[in-house]
C-alpha cells in the first residue's frame, strides 16, 4: 500500500515536472505554430549552464540561477532569430525537420562543450529528502511541482487577461490576420521563445538539482510530449490536469506492471498514453478545434 502510494505521489510530481517542460512547448506552439522537439536539449543546456556557473566559475547559487535564466532566455531568442525566422510560412515538414535538426545539433554541441561525463549539479534546495509520514519525497520535485502550479496560474492569467498575452493568443490563431490588425507578430514569437527558454531553465533547476547528470537527461523532453498532447497543445491550465493524469497513471503502471515485466514500464508508459490520445482525440482535452479549408 505504501509502495503504491509512493509510486502514485512521485508519479504525480514527475507528471508536474513534465507539465512544466510541456509549458515551454505549448507557449511556443501557441504563438509560433512550431513544435519544438529540441525542448529537452534546451533543458539540458540550462542545467549545464548552472553547473558551469556554480562549479566551474564558482559563483554563488543565487547569481548562477539568475544567469542561467538569462542565458536560457537568450538561447531561446537566438534559436528563434537564426533558425525559425527564415522559415516563417514554410510548410510543416520543414518546421518539424528543423527542430529535429536543432535537437541533434544541440546534443552534439553539448557533448563537445561539456563532454559525456557525469556532472554533479549542486543542490539548489537545502535538504534532498522530504519525509511526509511514511513517504519519502524528492524535495526538488515537490518545490518544482509548486513552481509549476504557480507558473501555470500566472501564464493562464497572462494569456487570458493581459493585453500582451491576448495579442500572443491572437497571433497564435492566425499570423496573417494578426499582422493585418497591427499586432507585432515577430515580437510575440520572439517573446514566446524567450519565455520557453526560461521555463526550460526552471525545469532544469528543479529536476537536476542535487543530482549527477549527463546529456541523456534530454530524453525527458520527449517523455514530456504526451502531457502536452493530452492537454491539447494550446491550453496551459490543462497541462496541470494532463500532467497529473499522466503522472499518476504512470505511478499505477509502475506499481502493478513493473514486477511482471521486470521494470522499465515508467519510461515507456507515457508513449502508450500518447498513442491512445492520438487515436481517440488528437486535439487533446482542451485543444482548439481547427477547421481545414482547401
Amino acid at each position: 500500500m505504501i509502495s503504491l502510494l509512493s509510486h502514485v505521489i512521485n508519479g504525480a510530481l514527475v507528471g508536474l515536472l513534465f507539465a512544466l517542460i510541456s509549458m515551454g512547448f505549448v507557449i511556443i506552439y501557441r504563438s509560433a505554430r512550431v513544435f519544438n522537439f529540441a525542448q529537452g536539449e534546451v533543458v539540458v543546456v540550462g542545467a549545464f549552464i548552472l553547473w558551469s556557473f556554480t562549479r566551474y566559475f564558482g559563483l554563488p547559487m543565487w547569481l548562477s540561477i539568475v544567469l542561467t535564466f538569462a542565458f536560457s532566455a537568450a538561447l531561446g531568442l537566438v534559436i528563434e532569430k537564426i533558425i525559425l525566422r527564415p522559415l516563417v510560412g514554410e510548410e510543416l515538414f520543414a518546421l518539424v525537420m528543423v527542430t529535429i535538426g536543432l535537437l541533434v545539433f544541440l546534443r552534439g554541441a553539448i557533448l563537445v562543450i561539456w563532454s559525456a561525463d557525469v556532472h554533479f549539479i549542486p543542490p539548489v534546495f537545502a535538504r534532498p529528502g522530504l519525509k511526509v509520514g511514511p513517504l519519502v519525497l524528492d524535495k526538488a520535485l515537490v518545490v518544482g511541482g509548486g513552481i509549476t502550479l504557480l507558473l501555470a496560474a500566472f501564464f493562464s492569467w497572462f494569456f487570458n487577461r493581459t493585453r500582451m498575452g491576448m495579442e500572443m493568443t491572437a497571433v497564435a490563431e492566425d499570423h496573417q490576420i494578426a499582422l493585418s490588425l497591427g499586432l507585432k507578430v515577430k515580437r510575440s514569437i520572439a517573446l514566446a521563445w524567450a519565455i520557453s527558454g526560461i521555463l526550460c531553465a526552471f525545469a532544469a533547476i528543479t529536476f537536476v538539482s542535487g543530482k549527477g547528470m549527463t546529456f541523456m537527461v534530454s530524453d525527458i523532453g520527449l517523455a514530456a510530449l504526451p502531457v502536452a498532447l493530452l492537454a491539447g497543445l494550446e491550453s496551459i491550465g490543462g497541462l496541470i490536469l494532463a500532467g497529473l493524469i499522466v503522472g499518476t497513471s504512470m505511478g499505477f503502471a509502475e506499481h502493478f506492471l513493473d514486477p511482471p515485466l521486470r521494470g522499465g514500464v515508467g519510461a515507456v508508459f507515457p508513449f502508450f498514453i500518447m498513442i491512445i490520445v492520438l487515436l481517440i482525440r488528437p486535439t487533446g482535452l482542451f485543444g482548439w478545434k481547427t477547421i481545414e479549408r482547401i
Binding site: 520543414a94 552534439g108 563537445v112 522499465g264 498513442i275 492520438l278
Partner: protein, 353 residues
C-alpha cells in the same frame, strides 16, 4: 522536364520508358557493370562500406516514398527496420527458414507494423504524426526487450549463422555484397517505376493537399496507410539484410537517431525524388566515413579541452544537425535540385536557361 533536342516518343511504350536514348543505355549498362564488378578491384574495407550504403539506401528509398512522395512525416523508419530484422532473424534462428522466404517475410511483417501506425496518419497529421511515429520507436524497443527470451533474446539479441541460398553460403563480405546489391538494385528500380504509376501519382496528390485529393476521388485513407506499408516494407527488407550481414540483431541498433539520420539523408538529397534519396544516402555516408576517419586525428591535437573519445559521436551529431538545419533553410529542395539545374543547362546548351 526537357529532353535533349531530337529525342521524342513515337509510341506510348517509348513515352513511358525510363531509359530512352543510346547514351542513357550506355550509362546504365556501365553503372551495372561497375556495381557488380566492384568486388573484383575494391578492397575489403570498401566492400564493407558499400554493403552498408546499399542497406541504408533501401531504407532511405522506402522513407522517400513515405515522406517525400506521400508527405507523411515518419520518425520510426528504424523501428520498422528493426521489426524486419527480428522477423527474418527469428525465422532463420528458430526454423532455419531459407532466405528467399525470410527476406520477403521480413518486409511484410515490417509493412504490417508500419501500416498500423499509418492508420493513425488518417486521423492526425504533421506534428501529431511525427509524435505517433516517435511512439512507434519506443513501443518497438520496449516490446523487443520484454518478450520472452526464447523468442528474440531480449538484451542479448539474436546471433545468426551465415545464411545460404540453394547451397551457396553468404559467409564473406563479398558474397553478401552480391546478395545485398541485387536486392537493392531491384528495390530501387521498383521505387522508380512505382512513383510514376497511378499509385505514385495518388501519393503525390495526397501530399499536396489531402482534402483536395479526397474530393477528386482518391481514397486518402487507403493511400496514407499504403505509403506507410510500402515505406516500412523497404525498411523491413533493409533490416533483414542488415541482420544477415552483421549476423547479430539487437533492438539497440534501431534507435530514433538512425531514423533522424535517414531523414537527414532525404533532406540533403532532396524530397520527392528517388534520385534524391540516392544522392543523399551516398553524400551523408561519405561524410560519416570522413568524420570516422578524421575524428581521431582531430582529437590528437587536443584543440578542445575535455573532449575524449566521444568526439566522433559529438561531431557526427553536430554535422547531422547542422546539415539538416542549413538544407531546410537554404536549399529545401536538396542536392537533386542542383543536379537537375545542371542537367537542364547541359541539355539546352549553348542557350542560357
Amino acid at each position: 522536364m526537357t529532353l535533349p533536342a531530337g529525342v521524342y516518343a513515337q509510341t506510348y511504350d517509348e513515352d513511358q520508358s525510363l531509359i530512352r536514348t543510346r547514351p542513357q543505355w550506355i550509362c546504365f549498362v556501365a553503372l551495372m557493370i561497375f556495381i557488380f564488378a566492384l568486388p573484383l578491384f575494391a578492397g575489403g574495407k570498401v566492400i564493407g562500406m558499400m554493403n552498408m550504403v546499399w542497406i541504408t539506401l533501401i531504407a532511405v528509398v522506402g522513407l522517400q516514398i513515405n515522406v517525400g512522395y506521400a508527405g507523411q512525416v515518419n520518425l520510426g523508419q528504424s523501428a520498422f527496420m528493426g521489426v524486419g530484422a527480428y522477423a527474418a532473424g527469428a525465422l532463420t534462428f528458430h526454423f532455419g527458414a531459407p532466405i528467399w522466404l525470410t527476406i520477403p517475410a521480413a518486409g511484410i511483417s515490417a509493412a504490417l507494423f508500419g501500416a498500423i501506425f499509418g492508420l493513425a496518419a488518417v486521423r492526425v497529421k504533421g506534428f501529431y504524426l511525427a509524435l505517433t511515429t516517435i511512439a512507434a520507436q519506443y513501443v518497438f524497443a520496449f516490446t523487443m526487450l520484454k518478450l520472452p527470451k526464447a523468442w528474440f533474446g531480449q538484451i542479448e539479441g539474436l546471433r545468426l549463422n551465415p545464411v545460404s541460398l540453394f547451397g551457396f553460403e553468404f559467409n564473406t563480405d563479398v558474397r553478401m555484397y552480391y546478395l545485398i546489391a541485387v536486392i537493392a538494385v531491384l528495390m530501387v528500380s521498383g521505387a522508380w517505376g512505382m512513383v510514376r504509376s497511378r499509385t505514385g501519382r495518388a501519393l503525390v496528390a495526397v501530399r499536396d493537399n489531402d482534402n483536395a485529393a479526397d474530393i477528386i476521388g482518391i481514397n486518402v485513407f487507403y493511400y496514407k496507410a499504403l505509403s506507410f506499408f510500402i515505406g516500412a516494407f523497404y525498411a523491413g527488407i533493409a533490416g533483414a539484410l542488415w541482420g544477415y550481414y552483421i549476423r547479430y540483431i539487437l533492438s539497440d541498433m534501431f534507435t530514433l537517431w538512425l531514423s533522424v539520420w535517414y531523414l537527414g539523408m532525404l533532406i540533403v538529397g532532396g524530397m520527392g525524388s528517388v534520385l534524391g534519396a540516392i544522392i543523399g544516402t551516398v553524400v551523408i555516408r561519405f561524410l560519416q566515413e570522413f568524420i570516422t576517419y578524421f575524428g581521431p586525428w582531430i582529437t590528437g591535437f587536443k584543440i578542445l579541452s575535455g573532449v575524449g573519445g566521444e568526439i566522433i559521436f559529438a561531431s557526427m551529431n553536430m554535422l547531422l544537425g547542422g546539415v539538416i538545419i542549413l538544407f531546410v533553410i537554404f536549399e529545401p529542395r536538396g542536392l537533386v535540385h542542383r543536379w537537375n539545374i545542371i542537367k537542364e543547362s547541359y541539355r539546352i546548351w549553348p542557350f542560357p536557361h
